[in-house]
């Protein structure tokens, strides 16, 4: 047997994620101008002035996306009691900014999607004005509808009896192409919507979350943490007893506020769980599926961040508890497997590094 080392031919597309725009072309100048206009408008909405570094930055949209001070101001605004109304200036700003069709500015709007979706869905049952939030969500939905051309997203579930780029089958090479692969629809085709009809609400938010997931590697950690916190609210269920994995609930003493007592009701949870109960929402699959994909990233993604990991873990436990309450098999399987993966990662303490060379020479020295 020979070891042939073929030339590496993997010219995959690599998108340029460089954070600075060097304003050379007209497009770049225009996008710079758009960003500056957006920042000016924003500063007239927010109470305290924006840091001057923003507008002088080489890539203002990027700076805006990652400026934690501005983010927290906007977040506070979005969480105010009447924030979602149709005449709300911030919603208007988010809508206009997204419609600017500048990709960097659109990322800024997406950064706040967890809070918009979170506050919106939890408030639906409270009969509050929400037209402002709905306008933003519909803009995201419409964007995704256009970019997908309304098509559904499908996945061909592989069948190992066909050989693939990663494996060969020993069977005869005469391929029976008619053997059908399992076709799974992971996101159904999209109809245009001009308003949020209540039975389409979950779908519209779900599609907006799909868009968020497709950009999630560019989202700041804070945005993902917001998302995880809302998952707990939406689940409306305390999942602390599943800290030791989904299979056996366990008493976990966590600073005395151990959560074995179940969901609210027992009065011992300093009113926090009561607030959670309030935001509990129906979780149909069209909404839950994108939630779980985002959560998978937050929990198992390549860039580890402790605070995010904690938040995602908590969200996953809550959603697991919720899926038990709904006796929802797919959700039990998906959240349960995430919890088991976390448990395995925590239990494997071995320092075995497979990329370390064996130390045969140590003995000779």
């Amino acid at each position: 047997m020979d070891t042939t080392l073929d030339s590496p031919s993997t010219p995959e597309t690599t998108t340029n994620l460089e954070p600075t725009i060097i304003a050379t072309s007209r497009d770049d100048l225009e996008s710079l101008k758009k960003s500056q206009t957006a920042i000016e408008t924003l500063s007239s909405i927010l109470p305290s002035p924006l840091p001057p570094s923003l507008s002088s930055s080489k890539n203002p949209a990027f700076s805006l996306l990652h400026d934690s001070q501005v983010s927290s101001q906007i977040s506070t605004f979005l969480r105010q009691p009447n924030s979602g109304a149709g005449d709300n200036h911030l919603c208007r700003w988010l809508y206009d900014t997204f419609q600017s069709s500048d990709t960097n500015l659109q990322l800024v709007v997406l950064r706040f999607l967890p809070i918009i979706a979170g506050v919106y869905l939890s408030r639906v049952a409270l009969h509050k004005p929400l037209a402002g939030f709905e306008a933003v969500l519909l803009a995201l939905y419409a964007h995704e509808t256009t970019s997908r051309n309304g098509q559904s997203i499908t996945v061909n579930i592989p069948d190992l009896s066909h050989s693939s780029i990663y494996h060969e089958t020993t069977k005869s090479t005469t391929k029976n192409c008619s053997t059908e692969l399992n076709l799974a629809v992971i996101s159904a085709s999209l109809e245009p919507h001009g308003t949020v009809r209540s039975t389409r609400r979950a779908r519209i938010v779900g599609v907006a979350l799909e868009l968020y997931f497709s950009k999630i590697s560019q989202m700041p950690v804070g945005s993902k943490i917001d998302f995880c916190e809302f998952c707990v609210v939406w689940a409306g269920q305390n999942g602390d007893m599943y800290k030791d994995g989904p299979d056996e609930p366990s008493e976990v003493s966590n600073d005395g506020s151990g959560g074995g007592s179940g969901d609210g009701g027992n009065g011992g949870d300093d009113g926090k769980s009561e607030r959670k109960e309030e935001g509990r929402i129906p979780l149909p699959w069209e909404l839950l599926q994108p939630i779980l994909r985002i959560l998978g990233h937050c929990l198992m993604g390549p860039n580890k961040d402790n605070e995010l990991h904690e938040a995602a873990w908590g969200a996953c436990r809550s959603l697991y508890a919720r899926s038990l309450h709904d006796v929802n098999p797919k959700a039990i399987l998906a959240t349960g497997s995430l919890l088991r993966l976390v448990k395995m990662a925590m239990e494997s303490n071995d320092d075995f590094d497979p990329t370390e060379l064996s130390k045969e020479n140590v003995l000779t020295q």
Partner: protein, 648 residues
């Protein structure tokens, strides 16, 4: 070539590395221009005459290969040292240069005899390390390329190493959130499966890993099945997952956990019978009889089938019993399942007394459950249905409204329940307002059931032209839907919301027969029959038309055929009873028998009571007749336009 001084530096660097002094290693290697050394090594393998032929100048080769080995080791150790110092970008660059060098130097491959362990170890290490370094550096696209390069080029990796890389890549594809795009055309082999997106590629890799496990090529790694579970559940392909679980070799995966996971899979794929059989095994007294998830799932499956409901009651009671301590939060769910199973059981009970007891118990369980689970949407809905079915329409109305409020009107069946309850209260115009409101909140493809209800409400309000108009719109919708969903019609995920064309034609046939438009009625009936030839429903309508036209034999034949198709078809039983009751006292015992039978199945059917009253009257049993008429008149005020169980 390296001079002896450089060789010594490398050996020194290696020993410093092994002592853990990575700074020392780096400073030792600083004295050598490793990249220049790589350049010099380049021409090495090109002289090699053939891959298989044993070269005569073996010693020359092996000495230059030793030098190559040394340089590569130095580069690799440099990468490792930089990694340990947290300088991942530089580490990745060095690591990549190891692989580039290997590919250049051994462009034509290396004969097996010449591959020493050390060299292979360096190559494998670098192949595995590179994607990890790019990930640490946050360079996702480089990481993806490194993974593909590792898996699609020939590096002679051992099985374990290859499995680790495959798992790493699968997990990167699933969780990184970066869509990597399909592999380049260069690696695509004709006729082989090429994944088009992250999910496909991840699932493919995980399935290959699963196969390696059961072929015994690599050691079992429990995390692989968990990644696969996550990926396949997201795609709703739990039946594929069940097959994967089934293929796991015994001894590595706890069998009860496997049964439970498979039961969840099959339930998720709608194969409840298989799921229940698996749960029966896992809940056996020698296995894990107290497992709450399994008990609740089993109870849920049983609650959907009247013949299994009794078994379900047992599971639900066990679930309630074991919902203690840390599991107490699930007690309400257990009570809810108990209520549902009892309610289902009541439907098939043979005696009135038992039925009424079961219904009371069912409502009691659900009422207890709602105290524990005040925000459980499913439970609120079920309470509405159960109260409606027990004719406690005010309570039912309250829950239906609460359901719409709590869900923000987002779930269609809530609207339908509310409209049906209002129609049962004979508040037809309000029911129509609700239906219209629901239509406003629905996209057109899901409007079918609402439009059907609206047509029926128009009929109830004696606005037949309005009803016909609505049916016409419904038909247009059906036809549009057939066109736009044409190619994907086989997908079960899309099937749910579709309007049933057969129902539309049949509804129209019934409407026209009510209006005595016999010709139109027969045309519509013909259309319905084209779609479903053997249906008790159409035969029933055919009988009604025959009866109305005075053709009693035709009517009877149609009703009897309907009964033959569906022995428990209540409307046909009633109408046979009705026809027979007019044929004199000779056949009245048969009529009475059929009507009593119908009442056993549907005790609240007023038409059955009415005809039974007629039979009693004609036979001279006046007091029995009075009772029946009384029952019929009481019930008259409370018929919903569609049965409450039609909502599911």
């Amino acid at each position: 070539m390296l001079n002896s001084e450089e060789e010594e530096l490398i050996i020194h660097g290696r020993s410093e590395y092994e002592k853990g002094n990575v700074e020392g290693t780096l400073s030792a290697f600083d004295g050598i221009d490793l990249h220049a050394a790589v350049q010099e090594l380049q021409p090495l393998a090109e002289k090699q005459p053939s891959k298989k032929g044993r070269p005569s100048n073996e010693s020359v080769h092996s000495s230059s290969q030793q030098a190559a080995s040394l340089v590569l080791e130095a580069l690799y150790l440099k990468a490792k040292s930089l990694q340990k110092l947290g300088r991942v970008t530089e580490a990745a660059d060095e690591c990549k240069s190891v692989l580039d060098a290997v590919e250049k130097i051994f462009y034509h491959g290396i004969a097996d005899v010449l591959v020493d362990n050390k060299l292979q170890e360096i190559v494998s290490g670098a192949v595995e390390l590179l994607p990890e370094l790019w990930k640490l550096d946050g360079r996702n696209h480089e990481a993806m390329s490194a993974y593909r390069r590792a898996l699609l080029s020939q590096w002679n990796l051992d099985n374990d190493c290859c499995a680790r890389i495959q798992k790493g890549f699968a997990s990167f594809l699933l969780y990184s959130g970066v869509e990597v795009g399909p592999p380049s055309l260069a690696v695509q082999i004709d006729g082989s499966y090429v994944p088009r997106n992250n999910l496909e590629e991840a699932i493919l890799l995980l399935m290959i890993l699963m196969r390696k496990f059961y072929l015994g090529k690599t050691k079992w790694d429990p995390s692989v099945i968990e990644h696969l579970t996550f990926a396949l559940s997201l795609c709703s392909q739990t039946s594929v997952l069940a097959k994967q679980l089934e293929e796991i070799m015994p001894g590595v995966f706890n069998r009860v956990n496997r049964w439970k996971a498979m039961a969840l899979c099959y339930n998720g794929a709608g194969q409840n019978k298989v799921a229940l059989n698996l749960l029966r095994k896992s809940l056996h007294k020698h296995e894990k009889p107290d497992d709450l998830t399994s008990l609740l799932l089993a109870a849920k499956i049983c609650s959907e089938d009247a013949l299994l409901a009794a078994e379900g009651v047992g599971y639900a009671q066990r679930a309630i019993l074991h919902a203690q301590g840390l599991n107490e939060h699930l007690k309400g769910v257990g009570l809810c399942m108990l209520g549902l199973c009892l309610g289902k059981l009541a439907k098939v009970s043979s005696s009135d007394h038992e039925r009424s007891r079961l219904q009371t118990d069912a409502l009691k369980s659900l009422d207890e459950a709602i105290v524990l689970e005040p925000n459980n949407f499913d439970l609120i809905f079920e309470l509405g249905v159960q109260y409606a079915e027990r004719w406690n329409l005010n309570a039912a109305l309250r829950y239906a409204k609460q359901f719409i409020d709590a869900t923000g009107g987002s779930i269609l069946k809530g609207w339908r329940l509310l409209a049906l309850i209002l129609s049962a209260q004979q508040r037809f115009s309000e029911a129509e307002v609700v239906t219209d409101a629901a239509l406003d909140e629905t996209a057109k493809w899901e409007q079918g059931p609402l439009l059907r209800m609206k047509a029926k409400l128009k009929i109830s309000q004696s606005i037949p032209m309005g009803a016909i108009e609505t049916y016409r719109y419904l038909l247009a919708l059906v036809q549009a839907q057939r066109k736009s969903f044409g190619p994907l019609r086989n997908l079960p995920q899309i099937e749910d919301d579709k309007v049933n064309e057969f129902e539309v034609w049949h509804g129209l046939a019934k409407l026209y027969s009510r209006l005595s438009h016999w010709k139109d009625a027969e045309i519509c009936l013909g259309k319905a029959k084209e779609l479903n030839e053997y249906s008790a429903e159409t035969l029933h309508t055919e009988g009604i038309i025959g009866e109305a036209q005075g053709d009693m034999n035709k009517a009877l034949a149609a009703f009897i055929n309907a009964l033959l198709l569906e022995p428990s078809h209540v409307p046909s039983k009633i109408l046979i009873g009705g026809v027979l009751s007019k044929m004199g006292s000779k056949v009245s015992p048969v009529a009475r028998c059929l009507l009593s039978d119908a009442l056993k199945i549907e005790p609240t059917n007023r038409m059955a009571w009415y005809y039974l009253g007629l039979v009693h009257r004609d036979d001279g049993r006046i007091s029995d007749a009075i009772d029946c008429f009384q029952a019929a008149s009481m019930l008259e005020e409370s018929d919903p336009i569609e049965s409450f169980c039609s909502i599911f």
